[in-house]
Amino acid sequence: MATKLSLNLQIWRQAGPDKPGKMVDYKLNDVSPDMSFLEMLDVLNDDLLQKGEEPVEFDNDCREGICGMCSLVINGVAHGPQKGTATCQLHMRKFKDGETVTIEPFRAKAFPVVKDLVVDRGAFDRIIAAGGYISINAGGAPDANAIPIPKEYADEAMDAAACIGCGACVAACPNASASLFVSAKISQLALLPQGQPERYRRATSMVAQMDAEGFGDCSNHAECEAVCPKEISIAHIARMKRDYLRSVFK
């Protein structure tokens, strides 16, 4: 059995949306390396509760890397040190005994802090509402095999569609740009024949909404791709830009 870890945690505590926040130090012993990162926080919270202190609030749901609910910037990196892995699937064996681990919320003006490590990512819903769909009412669809789609396109669309909407791309981007998230949806639908009729409108309206939400511009740092738990490529950002620019000159 692997040895237990002792950790120095520095965690962002903030009582509410407009309250000031600060980093608070906690010490946690006997952390099993087989624990997930969130289980480690569960244990910390149990400790805090027993001591009569406020537990640390953090978002999570599926705990298997698919719902996009978990967040956290760990040691300065969104979703922590492991490539292609959401925080909930990160395990403590990636940390060293005695290590200091900082935990901060996703920071962006468009993602206001709700409490502690919990942020509001409603902006993403509004961006999808601005055009991240194909206009089809239930019942009106032709046979599923009526339009063949080359496997390569379907696969690439799936690569983009894999986005879990976690917002790590925003959190990691030095500019807090949402380009990777937005482009993943634009690109998915642009690759499919069903997405063609609204293709260019979609690009312009989603980008307009992204800008209105107060995300920063894209400087091509590609830090987003590096933290994305689904390893979505910035090639999709390029496709978004092409479609957008084409719409300007159409």
Partner: protein, 637 residues
């Protein structure tokens, strides 16, 4: 009250068409006068919300997560069934219907299942049109696979992320309606009470989880799509926020709870690694297509797997079920895994695991092929366990996965409270005592896209509504009930956290109302659960601020409800003195240890009516008649 399933007359294949014609319609201009409350944004809720808004109704939709897109449906991996018969391998609406009824061990309602099979094909059309990137073949047409031991390939899939893609499709349609104002979206809200006025479901009380404020919403009908209650076991494959609260509060307001004891245990999950374990992760069932399940023949063998020679391994599924082998249905595979572990053959640190070994498959097809087929699953396994499944066999163990039981609904998906419709996993309707793989996604979308849009109109057209607003006495009453409940939780000054209570309840449920049950155990559970509940209300430790984000408070409310539901599950299991599907009673098995149904006495749905906390609930029976399939004993030998 006598249960009336309202199944239309006529031959099975024509029932739904005839019924659709008989249902009353709401005039298009009038639709915008109706306000419909949808609780839940999983496949069932999101598809219902979008479809109803497309028809012109005003929809308010609620979910616990910070976005509708994160509902638990997102986690479904394997696929969705549909009777498209694209592979030309003999599938049909009838066969899907038949398989589902048989798979459910003849405890579901024929007419509902037939309708499900009928609309299944439309679901795939709908999703493809929404841009769901299903897997395709080089010719550009949709790919299908066989799933969960089905004899035909009728499962559509999008990598290992089918639920996610289907949900994002439904979510995008929902957001399209949100953009034009037909849908009003309320995220981070938890429904805590149903508002019933003049016997009709007219609204809900929710807690805004960010501010702690209570909000009441009234409308003309309430659609509940709040998912399953597998988390009553604490450890399950369900998401952390999955819960029974909305359904349970409706139950207490008069909605009958059907077949609560029907729980599905999934055989291939990653085993528990320690006390801190917070949830279990499912490894897709498809792994059993190529992996071989085994345990050491010797009890308590602690050698590492590579040191156990071939002849000292027991491939127990292949041995006991030569024709199905590793592909026996979920319940059979799960029970056998438990049996060998109980018998001392378990592996791993906790001894509660069996091996799923790919060595043969890798040798036969090469590591490359295996990587192509299961690469992301293998990666996920390695991330969690730190073991490399290409080199050492996976360790797996069964885990609670799905609940077939739920609120009782009639053919129109309406509960016993008029105006309260229940969709998706939250209802009991289609899967009987056991659900087939890839059928839950199908059911959720069928309910939301293709059933509720018709049946709700009939209800609205036929009912008359009195004006109800936020100041109505029933609304105030519901609000004060919620407030009182919250205050009661906050007033406890105890020592044990919600998680500890939840874990203890889970342990009781797993031990006595789990994979196999017997009279003694169930009786035991029926005394232990109320005791634990008692302790809960005396000894809960919880942060005191209700006017802020307070997850412990949220979970306390849910665990309080689980502590009541758990008891009902045990009671239901005790009453059902037969084995069927996921419900295995030790007393009722064949000499070979297989489940033994009792169609004579138990071919019914048990629908429980709440009678107050300290009174035994009343059981109502909806008897099941099978006019189109012959009841047979399942055999996988």
């Amino acid at each position: 009250m006598k249960l009336n399933a309202k199944v239309p007359a006529g031959p099975l294949p024509q029932k739904w068409d005839q019924h659709k014609f008989d249902l009353k319609l709401v005039n298009p201009a009038n639709k915008r006068k109706y306000e419909i409350i949808v609780v839940g944004t999983g496949l069932a809720g999101a598809s219902a919300g979008a479809s109803l808004a497309e028809l012109g109704y005003n929809v308010k939709i609620f979910c616990i997560q910070d976005s509708p897109r994160r509902a638990h449906s997102i986690a479904a991996q394997g696929g969705i069934n549909a009777a498209k018969n694209y592979p030309n391998d003999g599938d049909s609406v009838w066969r899907l219907f038949y398989d589902t009824v048989k798979g459910g061990d003849y405890r579901s309602r024929e007419a509902n299942v037939y309708r499900l099979a009928q609309v299944s094909a439309n679901i795939i059309d709908q999703c493809v049109a929404q841009g769901v990137p299903f897997a395709r073949e080089y010719g550009g047409l949709l790919d299908n696979r066989s799933f969960g031991g089905a004899q035909v390939s009728r499962t559509f899939y999008a990598r290992g992320q089918t639920g996610q893609q289907l949900l994002l499709g439904a979510y995008s349609s929902l957001m399209r309606q949100a953009a034009i104002g037909k849908v009003k979206q309320f995220s981070r809200r938890e429904m805590l009470e149903l508002i019933v006025v003049d016997g009709q479901a007219r609204g809900i009380v929710v807690r805004n989880l960010m501010t702690g404020e209570l909000e009441s919403h009234v409308g003309h009908a309430v659609v509940l799509a709040t998912g399953g209650y597998g988390n009553v076991y604490y450890l399950s494959t369900n998401a952390k926020n999955s819960n029974a609260t909305a359904a349970w509060r409706c139950h207490k307001k008069g909605a009958y709870f059907a077949n609560p004891c029907f729980t599905q245990i999934h055989p291939t999950c990653i085993p528990v690694s320690g006390h801190y374990q917070s949830k279990l992760t499912l490894m897709s069932e498809s792994l059993r297509n190529d992996g071989r399940v085994w345990v050491p023949k010797k009890k308590g063998d602690t050698r590492s797997p590579e040191h156990i020679p071939e002849d000292e391994r027991d491939y127990y599924l292949e041995r006991k079920y030569p024709s199905f082998g590793n592909l026996v249905p979920r319940d059979v595979a799960s029970r056998n895994a438990k049996a060998v572990c109980d018998d001392g053959h378990g592996v791993g640190e906790t001894r509660l695991a069996v091996y799923l070994d790919f060595a043969d498959a890798i040798q036969r097809m090469g590591e490359h092929t295996i990587k192509e087929k299961y690469g992301n699953l293998f990666d996920m396994y390695e991330r969690i366990t730190d073991d490399n499944p290409y080199k050492v066999p996976m360790r797996i163990y069964p885990a609670v996965h799905y609940t077939m039981g739920g609120l009782w609904v009639d053919y129109n998906l309406m509960s016993t409270i008029p105006g309260l419709f229940v969709l998706g996993e939250a209802n009991f309707s289609d899967h009987g005592a056991n659900r087939l793989g890839a059928s839950a996604l199908m059911q959720g979308l069928a309910d939301g896209y293709f059933v509720i849009p018709y049946t709700i109109g009939d209800y609205l057209a036929k009912s008359s509504f009195n004006g109800v607003d936020a100041s109505h006495a029933e609304v105030k009453e519901a609000e004060s009930q919620v407030e009182a409940n919250t205050q009661k939780l906050l007033s406890i000054n105890g020592k044990k956290t919600v998680t500890e209570f939840h874990r203890e309840l889970g342990q009781i449920m797993w031990d006595y109302v789990g994979m196999s049950r017997d009279e003694n155990g169930l009786q035991h559970a029926l005394t232990e659960i109320p005791q634990l509940r008692e302790e809960f209300w005396q000894n809960l430790l919880i942060p005191k601020d209700s006017k802020t984000l307070n997850k412990n408070l949220e979970f306390a409310g849910r665990v309080a409800d689980f502590l009541e539901l758990g008891e009902l599950m045990a009671r239901d299991a005790l009453e059902r003195k037969e084995s069927c599907g996921g419900h295995f009673r030790e007393e009722h098995q064949t000499p070979e240890g297989e489940a033994m149904r009792d169609d004579e006495n138990f071919a019914f749905v048990s629908a429980w009516e709440y009678a107050g906390l300290n009174n035994a609930p009343n059981m109502h029976k909806e008897s099941l008649t099978f006019e189109n399939v012959k009841l047979t004993q399942r055999s996988y030998k």
